[in-house]
Symmetry: C2
């Protein structure tokens, strides 16, 4: 990169917050997507909206690819600097600006870790429900970029359902607030929701206003072992049809739990030989007696399937252990082999068909998969395991299989990604979900916001589009 540009960037952020050394660039060259690494040419760490705006003006003047970077926990490569250029790390935007107890809102900077935000509002009796598995290290800004979900989406919704208003630096360096701090808003086009899930391609979010709920006081957690994985999937919609809305309903195939129990310490669960899958089911609310009623109703439903003994977690310690296990599944599975993860999502009743189809496709193309995820909202993470597969098959057969899996999700009225985003690694499957007209519409929206295509280029849209 031209030293003159480096000088200009340094003048904006100060010499302590600009990095061109290989170690830093490599460090900011990855997220949690497979083993990919694309080092930017320079990493800058601005602290104010105005600094971000000035950086983007430079990006535009010199037409330099520029990528906003959050907690680097992404699973679709959304924050990878695939063309080098400037990486803008948002880590210094780490202040919670106001917990507004009067209006049940929080105003925060985007570099706050999601769990830190959740705990800060919980201290005031308030609840921010969105809990991606990576919440201990992901940024709330990254959650907005990818429209993150997590385990509580089936009852409480996803990131988009909590975002009221965003301060955004547009790729041109202009600054806008997208909306208002209100629950209702019918004033012009909803740019707030257009920005949420746009994977850092339309603007860089610098302030966020989120809606909060009153904190629920109690919850009950059950772990239900099934002899047949497809029956576990069938039980999911049976629970909803019984009139219960759990606060979490997680599915884990046998391998996912086995591998996780080997990977983490401190969780003592014995899994019998013949168990094929588990559901982890939580209900929450303010009245313990009602939660017990609901737990019993759930037991009545799952007992209609072939299940083993249900584990009823009745201490905080047991609950934490089960959630620790569930949250570690992703890392555990990935630590085991080279892998590719797909973030499929379908209407929840279609889960058994999806699982069945994935296994059949795996058989056809010779790959093993480990599936787990947020079954209550139809969001199944499919980890395709390389294991002993040859590189040749991995590179030629697996992409065909992935394409068939996505074709199946779309047939089932689902789509490619429930909560990870399209980013880099799914972009060449977008034609499965969208017509040419539809993709062009999205690309033209991108061009309006970013006429020089400097902000996070090469993401979302298929190559050659």
């Amino acid at each position: 990169m031209n030293p003159e540009i480096i000088n200009q960037l340094q003048a904006i952020v100060g010499s302590n917050y600009i990095f061109t050394d290989v170690a830093t660039r490599t460090d900011y060259g990855h997220d949690e997507t497979e083993d990919l690494n694309f080092p930017p040419q320079v990493v800058v760490k601005p602290a104010t909206t105005e600094e971000v705006a000035q950086i983007l003006k430079i990006s535009n003047t010199y037409k330099i690819p520029t990528v906003p970077i959050g907690g680097r926990t992404g699973l679709s490569g959304g924050a990878l600097a695939i063309y080098g250029g400037i990486a803008i790390s948002m880590e210094r935007f780490n202040k919670i600006l106001e917990v507004d107890e009067k209006n049940l809102q929080v105003t925060t900077e985007p570099g706050v870790i999601t769990q830190v935000l959740r705990e800060a509002v919980a201290e005031k009796g308030l609840f921010y429900p969105v809990d991606p598995s990576s919440m201990g290290s992901c940024f709330i800004g990254g959650n907005i970029a990818e429209n993150s979900g997590g385990a509580r989406a089936l009852k409480y919704g996803v990131t988009k359902d909590y975002v009221l208003n965003l301060e955004v630096v547009l790729p041109t360096g202009d600054i806008i607030w997208t909306g208002a701090n209100t629950l209702k808003n019918s004033t012009g086009y909803n740019l707030t929701q257009l920005l949420v899930g746009s994977e850092g391609t339309l603007g860089i979010v610098t302030k966020i206003v989120l809606k909060l709920l009153p904190q629920n006081k109690h919850n009950v957690l059950l772990l239900v072992p099934f002899y047949k994985a497809e029956q576990a999937c069938e039980a999911v919609s049976a629970i909803f049809r019984a009139g219960i809305t759990p606060s979490a309903l997680e599915f884990m195939e046998r391998d996912a739990i086995d591998w996780t129990l080997r990977y983490i310490d401190g969780v003592n669960i014995e899994i019998k030989e013949n168990i094929a899958a588990h559901l982890l089911i939580e209900v929450d609310g303010n009245y313990p007696e009602i939660l017990m009623q609901e737990a019993e109703q759930i037991l009545n439903v799952v007992e209609q399937f072939e299940i083993d003994e249900v584990l009823f977690a009745d201490t905080e310690e047991q609950k934490n252990a089960l959630w620790k296990m569930r949250r570690a599944v992703g890392e555990a599975v990935k630590s085991n082999s080279v892998y590719k993860e797909e973030d499929t999502v379908v209407p929840r009743y279609e889960l058994p068909k999806l699982l069945h189809g994935i296994k059949a496709i795996g058989k056809k193309y010779g790959f093993h998969s480990v599936c787990y995820g947020h079954a209550g909202d139809g969001n199944l993470h499919v980890n395709i395991i390389k294991g002993e597969m040859s590189d040749a098959n991995w590179n030629t057969e697996v992409p065909k299989g992935i394409r068939e899996i996505f074709e199946l999700t779309v047939q089932l009225k689902g789509t490619l990604s429930g909560e990870h985003g399209i980013g880099l690694v799914q972009k060449n499957y977008m034609d499965i979900a969208f017509s040419k007209v539809h993709l062009e519409l999205m690309e033209r929206i991108k061009a309006i916001f970013d006429p020089n295509n400097v902000l996070n280029p090469g993401k979302i849209f298929p190559d050659g589009e």
Copy 2:
């Protein structure tokens, strides 16, 4: 209009579904916005997506302004054919296509009346919570166009929170589905949410997939009379801060109730002399004993203010009477005088400041206002009453006052419209809420969808923009 165009339109919809007579054109020239009437040159009533697409292709070929029309209950003039042209009435899109009990979803055409949809899903034990006051005659498609709210938004959200997927005919005649039938979706830009609230300017919705909830079995309704209107507003956020989320929390100034009780039959409520305002408060859920607990907690909160005796509605008949009264307020107030209605919205804690400010602005410009609305979500309908005011003052002073009211809402971190939309009558106030850059961004989005500006032109954007 060129007879050749009429012939082409007739070939599409059939001769029974095209109208050029004055009576029909006048009938389709209004909604419920003030006394405005803008007759289109021709009214067509297509029945299929393909017919809508063919009509829009004609609109594009001949560059004819074209307006989609729903239940004609709009309050911002969104469906008025201000440049004449073609009106596309969606009334034949009146089928509920599938109530999907397995996935808690409904697929419907847009010409279904909102209440009909609510009742159809309720029969299957399911709940569509969005209940605009006009729900007995408005169309679900119109609700999507304006992102309608209603009385239950404070607990259950607004239209946008239930829309999963839309079949849309773009102004060019292309047809797309915007999303997927899933609760989670991180796949490309969220065009679903861009369409919701776009007031029929970006596309014509022809099929709708909505999320549903399990039906709540019980509710409790309270009418609380306050001696001071601002204290009623203060009580609103006090209730939330006590940890209760009511399912409705409605505010009515004295005049609103008085005029309504004169306007409707069959509601017997006596209002004492010195009552300035009422709150109508509902809690809902599945467990009557818990609702009674919550009602008591609410009583504890409101008793900290200067209130008169609380009416506890304990029969269905009483509840229906109170809701009938509340829903008739809009019409009753408007039947009384020439008026202008503004749909202000602020964070709920700011309501007392908003009400105080509106009254002060009214004093300054010499107008009387009657305020009522969905106080639980900060959405206050301000009816400015012409009464004895001179035409000259009405035309010159009132717009200045309205501008000041909107400036106040924006200062309070609110915005211009909570649920009615901008449409025609608020468009020249958009500069208060949005910068030039922001408005231009929205206008460029409009131009991408609608390069010839044929679909519902002259709405949302200020004159001269």
